[in-house]
Amino acid sequence: MKFGIMVNEGPYTHQAADTAYHFVKAALDKGHEIYRVFFYHDGVNNGTRLTTPPQDDRNIVERWSKLAEEHGLDLVVCVAAAQRRGIVDPDEAKRHGKDADNIAPGFRISGLGQLIEAGIQSDRLVVFGD
């Protein structure tokens, strides 16, 4: 089956961010396809490489980046939600005159149309959040 995934909550604050990861990993292990993972609301905070959790805790951001590298996942951070919350890629940093970017490897910033497209193209769109 082809899944679209939506992640609506931030890492460490809300278990939805963990559950989404475990769902995606389990689906891939079972041979399913992940069309796209779309990060919205505080979910965009899953995409900053500046996250530095305690060493004895899971690294949620690195975990996504690694999974993306292994499986060619399309991890998309909503641009409007990202701008509000300070998630920035090099292009966005330049466009808005910011002194840095923080997007994590394997993530890209794009528009809400990517979410709708995932809903259209996937067999199921699974939403993780409150």
């Binding site: 609301h41 809400l112 809903g119 959040g129």
Partner: protein, 128 residues
């Protein structure tokens, strides 16, 4: 419509469920942003307002005191985006002492059972 599901140019039934109060969290505002962008994709769209989400449509919102933008007028613009199916859950509305006259847009009032049946028909449900 749905026989084209999954192919190029497919039309799917998208339902947006709004369950939270308009202010206090950003869910309502960012839900509306998805609806507006999604309208460009010419899908079969409906919106449900239930639980505290019913308050999103309440007339006379004054957000001056909390320094937030009052985005309730945007619901009146949805018709221009061909988003015309707006459902309010009867039980949620009545529990909050509201009637359709208290809302900024015309809506269809549906019982939770009817909303449930509508959900069954959907291809994609986005809950905010």
């Amino acid at each position: 419509m749905s026989e084209e599901m999954g192919g190029e140019g497919a039309v799917k039934k998208f339902m947006y469920i709004n369950r939270k109060a308009p202010y206090g969290t950003i869910y309502a505002l960012e839900s509306l942003e998805v609806v507006l962008i999604g309208a460009a994709f010419d899908q079969d769209v409906s919106l449900v307002f239930m639980d505290d989400g019913v308050y999103q449509l309440k007339k006379g919102q004054d957000t001056g005191g909390v320094d937030m933008k009052n985005f309730s007028p945007t619901y009146r613009a949805l018709e221009g985006y061909d988003v015309e199916k707006l459902y309010v859950e009867k039980e949620s509305m009545e529990a909050r002492g509201l009637t359709p006259d208290d809302l900024v847009v015309p809506v269809e009032v549906k019982t939770s059972g009817e909303i449930s049946a509508l959900m069954e028909e959907q291809d994609v449900i986005l809950s905010f």
